[in-house]
Symmetry: D2
Subunit: 195 residues, 4 copies
């Protein structure tokens, strides 16, 4: 995935968390080498969100597609990011949508925890449609209607609002990387708009 | 179900519908006796909607429970009504929510056609948790967050906003009829809030 | 849809059903003209089933695609048929799979009533991806793994087992009618295999 | 969760995995202290499976409930375990079902990756219905029909097949720990059998 997969802040603790009851990370535990070690040992939990605009009957009008700056250059992407330790999935969705779309997007976070699909990003291509050279990531995927103004921030440099037909077009699909174009297709299928 | 299951207007036609190509209903086809005949011959398609209030992370705060005047007297109920000929399921949801909650409820109609469950109301009790003495109804069930003011109309005389815990309580559950209390439980389970 | 949409037998009654409590259809009520009348007045409830073969980890190997004789000639199709009065959705699935695939298909009927999507077939093209010139049909759509031998019967003249990739190919998609190719795509998307 | 949450074998590599491209864990990296460190830093990915017996129409007959030996003594539980690095979710399901139910259970692993819910186990009680004192675990939850003989192994000492009604009873619910009784309720709700 193209999202920066921030690693946990070793000093952060949830409120009321008694650090005496857990092993204390030694200072400097999360060196770059350590991050690589964890990533080579454990699947990480991600959320993926496909932002959409809907009409008053809930029918999708447009799909939001980001342009993100990634290692391989500029690429199409959806909203994606890691779930942190002691963070609820729905709070991770709020946080990553705000990171990518800005604070005024007014997202309608799904009331149900049931994702429309689970995308498994393997560091080895070809096992699933999804690929992440850095890690094994398991992404809970949600479709999120947004009602407000979206202003990309950080890695996201632009958001384009495309009709479902345009988002499915070969030209747009080819601009995605790591299989996220397939995830947009799966989202549009879930919306009943794949033809 | 307690909702009045209005039968189709025999004179209504969608725009552009060439009545010459269909058998013409004779005038007076839908007499009361005829309605009973259709109801004894075909399952009817319904939508059921459980209105909820959510916080900014999508977590359910309250469940909307109606008081409706039904044949058996005042009873708890959810939003329910028939899908008309040539009406989209999402438009039926909009229409019945407006009928029961008023025009300012600002419902977030689901973007996906996938219901959280399908409730089968049989005229014979005990086949499923759902029962409708008048007919065999198959209801597509959706959870619908509403953001605006709700003012019950027509058969619905009141809407109470209950916490998930209160909606699950035995006292409230006993005030439902026809199994709709079970549907509220299933909705709360789908929201991850059944304990 | 290409499936013969049999109308209810007016003399059939579920066990224990007290006919005295319902309006009695007059003899001859379901003339051909009457069927056309009902079809022009009410949406009918259908089940749609996409048969698949899976491996021991549940991963789809092949998608079953029927060749059916329809009004417009030979066409690709999935399993489809009407839900009868007083019939459970799961029993309708069993019945139509047996009609189309024979009695030895050993289908794994879904344990949950939640369909993967709802397909709305309108008699007017363009409202949804699905079209049925005869009627307004609302189809609950399920993916059904089958483990046994499939021998098409009645309208279905042949079943072909295709890889997901082949089922998605333009050549096969063009052999479907009424939008059922789109439904196969949506099923494969739901299986996480749309690329 | 009561399942033993085995940590990855640091020497295991998927076929074709070029260890040169990843940081090499130093020998002894996964000491007991290190495991505690990881568990206090990252949410871990789990699968939860509710085994059921179904009839030929897919309707649930019985729910499989394990007795497991856990830190707090004997407790009711469902099938649960971690997803390993470079393991597909469906392969983790196969593996943990075999671990808990034996090699002859003949599970029907779901064809779709869409779970019926996601259970978030926090080390702090009260955030969700689910609790795990050792760690933050995010569990993808599936309902898995099994057709064969089940012989509990390892931590699981017994499996009881209960009717949905019995599994929902207060007596059985009280024998679960960490919220897994609520997950069984949610599964039965998803099956349309919560009354």
């Amino acid at each position: 995935m193209t999202a920066a997969a921030e690693m946990p802040n070793p000093n952060w603790r949830p409120d009321g968390w008694d650090v005496q009851h857990t092993a204390q990370p030694t200072s400097g535990w999360l060196t770059d080498g350590d991050i690589a070690v964890v990533r080579a040992q454990l699947p990480l939990v991600y959320v993926n969100a496909v932002p959409i605009r809907v009409d008053s009957a809930g029918d999708v009008l447009e799909v939001g597609v980001l342009l993100k700056m990634a290692a391989q250059g500029l690429t199409r992407a959806i909203v994606a990011g890691r779930v942190l330790y002691h963070e609820r999935v729905r709070d991770a969705l709020v946080r990553h949508i705000e990171t990518d779309l800005g604070p005024h997007a007014l997202p309608a976070i799904p009331a149900t925890p049931q994702p429309f699909t689970v995308a498994e990003y393997f560091p080895t291509p070809g096992i699933t449609p999804f690929f992440d050279p850095r890690q094994h990531a398991i992404a809970l995927c949600y479709i999120v209607p947004v009602a407000g103004d979206c202003h990309p921030r950080q890695d996201a440099v632009q958001i384009d609002w495309l009709s479902p037909e345009a988002a499915l077009s070969q030209r747009v699909q080819e601009e995605f990387s790591d299989g996220q174009g397939a995830l947009v297709k799966q989202a549009i299928a879930h919306l009943g708009r794949l033809v």
